[in-house]
Amino acid sequence: MRAGSLMNNSAVAIRAAEAGDIGKVIRLDELHTGLAKPDYWREMFAAYVTAYHFGRYFLIAEDPGGMVGFIVGEIRTWEFGSPPCGWVFAVNVSPDSREGGIGSRLLDAICGRFRDCGVGTVRTMISRNDPLNLAFFRSQGMTAGPYIELEMNLDPGPTDDPNEAKA
């Protein structure tokens, strides 16, 4: 753990991501998830960093030693019938810098930007098998929202046969 990370995050600055941050983002994400996703992050950088879209934010937390975390989110409107709402898609803090309030700073920063856009709700979706992130968002005051996520497996079925589909 970096010295002082538990007690003092005042040396950490939050800024908008730049194209040159992509390598560190990929590495930090891989460190957390155990899976490198360079293509995914290239697409994310193209959509959230190098191109401008209203309500999209990719923020970086960095201390004098470099990047220590990031957060990604955007405002989405009328998806699932929801009025404009901020969505947080990803948040990550370097393991060496955790428990220093950096995740809270990142969430506060993106919520501030959502608020500035006139949005009054922020939302995220976490795997129920990810206690670390679940506990983090809970500790920030998030609770279950008014939507329930549903899914099902898409097993091969009869409609996979084009002849049957025509019939």
């Binding site: 428990e99 098998n129 206690p131």
Partner: protein, 141 residues
């Protein structure tokens, strides 16, 4: 999720003590604050001691104090101590358990149980206390 009295008492006691980890409180103090049975609470306190979540302090002004980590201990950690059924709510000994309808109902109940567990596992004592009403917040560590 319906909790047994023991579970609720354990949550009250753990949260009360966790609000000020250095402070000692007697069983009577806690029972009085929540208006609950001191005898029932005494049994619960012994189980919390055995689980290492609180410790008994002897002598004048003795009682109990919190000995866990408020940032790590979750509501589920306490619930599962007192609700053995919470670990697996579906019971094979229920009448009609082998029928297709029963199995489909089991799947729905398992879905709800999974959500309940994930929710309880995600809320640490510190998080719950943080968003408790103002009177409690004044005593947060």
């Amino acid at each position: 999720m319906r909790l047994q009295k023991s579970t609720l008492f354990a949550l009250y006691a753990a949260l009360e003590l966790a609000a000020e980890p250095g402070r000692q409180m007697s069983t009577a103090d806690i029972a009085d604050r929540y208006g609950i049975s001191i005898h029932h609470l005494a049994k619960v306190m012994r189980q919390l001691v055995r689980a290492g979540l609180i410790q008994s302090v002897r002598g004048v002004g003795g009682g109990y104090r919190f000995s866990g980590n408020v940032k790590r201990v979750t509501l589920w950690d306490i619930i599962e101590l007192f609700e053995p059924a919470a670990r697996s709510a579906n019971q094979d000994d229920e009448p009609g358990h082998a029928t297709p309808v029963s199995r489909a109902l089991d799947n729905v109940r398992a879905e709800i149980d999974d959500l309940t567990r994930a929710t309880m596992q995600s809320i640490t004592l510190k998080s719950l206390l943080k968003f408790a009403p103002a009177e409690r917040q004044k005593r947060l560590p």
